[in-house]
């Protein structure tokens, strides 16, 4: 009886310790995937405006964002296959981007459909959300430079609020490449190095 009780206690302790593990194994796939997808979509959106192709705005972005969510789903399934340990930090990372993703989807789709938010301010508003996500991620990864990225996102948002126009598409694409894809590449390289060491 005592032995059974001890095993239960040990399992409980193991779960809590695993759950509270701070170290986060992240391969940067989502940062790179989403960053490249949205940057590319922004450039196509600009060409649509420039050449007057007349895409249906909501349909176009609906497909792009759906592709992004599908990619995230695929990525999470891959992680399961790779048997990445489920730590508190790992779960938190997923929650940060899920929460931010829901927030941005609501602003981008419902905000524009309702007419309450003008399309010209979308890039700036989404940058505000991304700034928040990067600040929290910086704490999660214990990477100071990542916290500073949030300042870049917020400054970019302020610039886009005060200097609106079609050029904000380029500012946003540029910010995605430098403040999201590049950090993603950093995490990818770090992940590769760590897995090679193991």
């Amino acid at each position: 009886m005592d032995e059974k009780y001890a095993v239960d206690e040990l399992q409980f302790i193991k779960k809590i310790i695993e759950d509270s593990k701070r170290n986060l194994v992240y391969n940067g796939r989502e940062h790179i995937g989403w960053g490249l997808l949205i940057s590319f979509a922004l450039i196509v959106d600009y060409l649509n405006y420039f050449f007057g192709w007349n895409f249906h705005f909501l349909l176009y972005w609906g497909i792009v964002v759906a592709l992004g969510w599908l990619f995230s789903y695929y990525s999470s399934q891959q992680r399961k296959k790779e048997n990445c340990p489920k730590t508190f930090a790992g779960k938190m990372m997923g929650t940060i981007w899920l929460g931010t993703g829901i927030g941005m989807t609501l602003v981008g789709f419902v905000g524009i459909t309702s007419g309450a938010i003008p399309g010209t301010s979308i890039s700036a508003l989404l940058s505000v959300f991304l700034g928040s996500a990067f600040l929290i991620s910086g704490y999660l990864h214990s990477e100071k430079w990542m916290k500073y990225l949030s300042i870049g996102w917020w400054l970019g948002a302020v610039i886009m609020f005060f200097y609106p126009g079609v050029h904000t598409v380029f500012i946003m694409a540029f910010m995605l490449l430098f403040l999201q894809v590049l950090p993603g590449v950093y995490f990818y390289k770090k992940f590769k190095k760590e897995t090679e060491l193991q």
Partner: protein
Amino acid sequence: MEDRNALDELVFIKKVIEDSKRTVAENGVGYIVWGILVFVGLLVSYLSNIFDYRFNSFLVWLSLMGFGWLTTLWSVWKKKGKAVKTFGTRLLSAVWLSAGVAMMIIGFVATASGMVRGFAVSPLIAIVLGVAYFLSGQIYGSTWVKVLALGWWIGGIAMLFIVSITQVLVMAFMMLFFQVVPGFIFYFNSKKSVVVE
């Protein structure tokens, strides 16, 4: 005899781990203070509109928010060195700091630029608060806090379609029910756990 000793050790370790989980326990004061400040601001805006009393609303909001940040800074300074800084509490601070900055940019910078109209501010802030509650729920390991996020998001969607002064009243009551009331729940829970200890 040795088995018994090992078991005692295990029970002790379990207790220490369970105790350390409490360090993310929230006393709710921040939720209550900010919730009441915003509630007052919204109510003043609503009543001034109803009674057609003109005043500088920007100044009122700046004073209320300034007071809120001062109170927050004072509470951080007071806790300095006394409170245990765990990974969870640091993350929680980051969540609310980032949400605070986001709300300030939306409320002050975006509206000053003219790119976000007054009626879009409350829904946007509700959506930001939804994200913050969703993340806080994960940190606390609490489902009901995550459900609050759903309330903020649904309210945010509804307010995007309300283009009248009623929207301000909706936001005021959301602030009361989704922020001040949960703040009191945190407060009474923390008091209860102190009494038990």
